[in-house]
């Protein structure tokens, strides 16, 4: 590989909550097209880091740069419009709407931007968006659920639908916060397959995960977070053999 | 100049005290049960009408026709005999004279019952429902309460006399060593202020120094954890709702000599009290009390002619204006916690 293109650069980020140093001196570079996993024991600051990237939390110092644009200080919707989509730990979906509409809404956000007073056109006339959404639902294996109410889906299906909602925007960067948390073994395996499938499309992903099985099936690169610091950074094999990592995992959790 | 300002300050105290008491109860209910209670003003109104009912009972009379004496119209003269005086003599007369404070005795059990019945019967089913639905159901209850009162007591305000001995004015200026008769303040309003101060102090002391209060405060901070400790928090919260109703009712009773109660006074005060709660910071008890007095005093200053000459109509909107400014500039209110009820 020649010069790897750095899509996301978390530069010198610190985050303090009162006296707690939740993130210290985080420097993270995510290369284009790779799947970058962030792992670490409970309370290591993984979710805080993700929230800083996505603009939900402002870092105490440092900044996050995405493809030359500084993310720090932007609103979540602006960050999304730059091409970053996020899957949440507990699915954030439109429970009152149908599965199809859940997936059509992000597609419209991609096409129409942050605001458009698209008032007199009928939804039924949006055939292109509709077909796109149906296609995406087929991709994630949810064709049978198109007209169901999103809140009536099983937990695993909600997660898959949320993934479809992110993928339909063709984001340049996809953030996944424990995408298999609370899933059965079967659902976990389908999700891994799904993620491997989209990996082949060359989408950059940052994934936060607990489950080592998931991490080692997907990640190209792993950063290990412990007590707010990155203690190891490298390929899965590097990380697996790193004594500091084993120390953090064995000594840091019960 | 000082005396004018001081007088306006005093004038704001009694209204501020009423706001503070209602806002305190609202905050208590919100903090413990997580319910936005639009019927809280109605509880204040119900309390006021407890005073009205008590006075009606105390002033029952027997009416007999005396055929010996004739009225100027030539009909037999009606002889009215107050029952209380007939039964209890002078003590009866004292009771009638002090009907407003005496009715507190009736108000406390009634309001406690009303509060507990309301919570057990209806509010309890709304803990898990959206705030919009809580607002709607309590709003409906408020309408029901005021219409019931209207159909019993009629639509007109019913002035309640204060005890004869307390009708005068207190020469506060003279007390403080200033010129006599410059700063005078109606005695009853002073009493109302002191009464509120004691009641507020009592609620805080109750929450601060009793085990019950401690559990409730812990529950306000983190309901789930307290529940995990095996403490039956729900029952305590029911009692808190009753307590909030009692506080509102007592505030209503004592306010009747200042403002003749009418059936819609609850709503009038509710709207203002919500503004008070929001200004103080949703969920903060000290905030509610501070904001209650602050807004009462501000309102009093805004109704000075000098101020009205500069900004016409300011007395009509000052409270709302302050609320809007606070909400826009400092959405948590004066002392509120972050993130309460923002979604």
């Amino acid at each position: 590989m020649a010069q790897p293109n750095i899509v996301l650069h978390v530069a010198d980020v610190h985050k303090r909550f009162g006296g707690l140093h939740a993130l210290a001196d985080i420097d993270l570079q995510v290369e284009e097209g790779t799947t970058h996993a962030i792992i670490g024991p409970n309370g290591a600051g993984k979710s805080t880091l993700l929230n800083v990237i996505i603009g939900k939390l402002a870092p105490t110092s440092g900044q996050v740069v995405f493809d030359g644009a500084v993310l720090t200080g932007r609103k979540p919707y602006q960050i999304n419009q730059l091409g970053i989509a996020r899957v949440f730990q507990t699915p954030e979906i439109f429970g009152d709407l149908s599965v199809l509409h859940n997936v059509m809404i992000p597609a419209l956000a991609k096409r129409d931007g942050a605001f458009r007073l698209n008032m007199l056109k009928n939804l039924n006339a949006e055939t292109t968006i509709r077909d796109e959404a149906l296609h995406m639902l087929e991709d994630v294996g949810m064709s049978g659920h198109v007209d169901m109410l999103a809140s009536s889906l099983s937990r695993g299906d909600k997660r898959r639908m949320e993934l479809a909602m992110c993928l339909i925007q063709h984001p340049r960067l996809l953030l996944l916060d424990e995408p298999t948390a609370g899933m059965s073994r079967h659902d976990t395996n389908t999700t891994i397959e799904l993620l491997q499938k989209i990996k082949q499309r060359g989408m950059t992903k940052v994934i936060i995960e607990h489950d080592m099985h998931v991490v080692f099936s997907l990640a190209d690169k792993i950063s290990v977070l412990a007590q707010g610091r990155i203690i190891a950074d490298g390929s899965p094999d590097d990380v697996r053999g790193n004594p500091a990592v084993q120390e953090a995992y064995l000594g840091g959790t019960h | 100049m000082f005396d004018v300002i001081f007088l306006q300050f005093l004038n704001g105290l009694d209204k501020g005290a009423a706001y503070a008491l209602i806002a305190l109860g609202l905050t208590l209910v919100f903090g413990t049960l997580g319910v936005v209670n639009f019927a809280h003003g109605a509880l204040f109104m119900l309390g006021a009408f407890c005073a009205v009912a008590m006075r009606m009972l105390l002033t029952l009379e027997t009416v007999t026709l005396d055929p010996e004496k004739l009225s100027p119209w030539g009909t037999p003269l009606e002889v009215r005999e107050p029952l209380m005086q007939a039964w209890l003599g002078d003590f009866g007369a004292v009771l009638v004279n002090y009907s407003v404070p005496v009715s507190l005795l009736l108000t406390i059990p009634i309001m406690l019952l009303v509060g507990i019945a309301l919570e057990r019967g209806i509010i309890k089913h709304f803990y898990k429902r959206p705030h919009a639905e809580q607002i709607l159901v309590t709003f409906g209850l408020a309408i029901v309460a005021q219409e019931v009162i209207k159909s019993i007591f009629g639509p007109n305000p019913l002035p309640q006399p204060m005890p004869v001995e307390l009708r005068g004015a207190a020469d506060i200026g003279a007390w403080l060593g200033m010129q006599a008769n410059v700063i005078t303040y109606p005695l009853w309003r002073l009493i109302y202020f002191l009464f509120s101060a004691i009641l507020i102090g009592g609620v805080f002391a109750f929450l601060q120094f009793t085990t019950f209060g401690m559990v409730v405060r812990a529950g306000m901070a983190d309901r789930e954890t307290v529940g995990l400790l095996g403490i039956n928090i729900d029952r305590r919260f029911t009692i808190m709702f009753g307590l909030a109703a009692v506080v509102a009712g007592m505030a209503g009773v004592m306010y009747t000599p200042i403002l003749p109660p009418n059936y819609h006074m609850g709503m009038d005060f509710l709207v203002l009290s919500f503004v008070v709660v929001v200004v103080g910071g949703m969920g903060s008890l000290p905030g509610a009390v501070a904001a209650g007095f602050l807004l009462g005093i501000l309102q009093s200053f805004a109704s000075m002619n000098e101020i009205k000459a500069i900004i016409p109509g300011i007395d009509q909107i000052i409270i709302y204006l302050v609320a809007v400014l606070i909400l826009l500039v400092r959405p948590r209110g004066l002392m509120g916690r972050r993130g309460v009820m923002e979604a």
Partner: protein, 383 residues
Amino acid sequence: MSTFMSRNDLLLLIGFTIAVLTMPLWLAPFGAGYPDLLNRFAIFAIFAIGFNILFGLTGYLSFGHAAFFGVGSYAAVWSFKLLSMDALPALLFAVVISALFALLIGFLSLRRSGIYFSILTLAFAQMSYNLAYSVLTPITNGETGLQLTLRDPRVLDNALFEAGPGLPSPTLLGMPLQGFEAFYFCAALLIVAFFLAQRISGSPFGMMLKGIKSNQTRMHYTGFNTRPYTLAAFVISGMYAGLAGGMLAIVDPLVGAERMQWTASGEVVLMTILGGAGTLLGPVIGAWLIKYFENIFSAINDVILARFWSFLPDGVSDAMVQITSKFVGDGWFLTLGLVFVLIVIFLPGGVMEGVRRIADQFRPSRRSGRPANQARPHPRPAE
């Protein structure tokens, strides 16, 4: 499937149009077939439809919509006084001015959500009401209420026609707007208002509003700036309220500030919830039910009750008269309050949900996997 409108929407619109235009016929047996009441049906239905665009679609509960209604009324009467007795400029002014007013209040109020939003709208409406009663008396004529006088300039009318004797009454392009003419004018506006609401609800914009109600966080992370969406919904619903207020000024050109009081704001909330928030027909049905029963119940007195209960033995019938009289006449609001409480407790989706539940009883086979178009509107609780 037509791209303009789905078959179901078209059928609904046609059915609605027929129902509204034939109201004088089918409401006559219920004693409600006269223009004065029918006008109110149409006016308050428009008010509720507009309110539903905000509350039903976005979930933002405004407690101050009567302010826009009142502003619309005042604007219409001023148009009568200054310009012309014609209804069109009056309604134009009502809509435009209430839109501006809603833009201002909405811009400020929508900076907050949840209960804070409700309180902000309530505070703004109460300010408007209090000012209308006090400082703004030159514009609102305070307690007396704003009304037409013989001295009004009416620039356009006086330039075009000879002034007749007495107070003029509202017209539509020279045709007097009284009796059933007024009703059909109101009915036409109601149908247009319904049609527009249907279009909005079925548009991508409408779906965004529903998305905001369902999960605003997701909307942000999906790339939407939600504030302009909610502001647009707020202004549209303010315009509906202004239109309704202007129409009420046409049929009753004496406008008092009580039209802006928070009780009036509460009434439109009741109508929308009673019928079914978030549905198209619900607010209309709610408005009709409340206005109808208000009219009927208010008119019932003890004599009528005595006749009604006369089949019972004397003592019992007297007692029944006593009891029931508390719920009618002036006691109508008590009945309304009770019904409202019961609806919120047992049927939060309003009449429309009731209708659907009954319909579900008759086709039990289709209940598995609850289709999305039968979703009960249910705003998310605070995070």
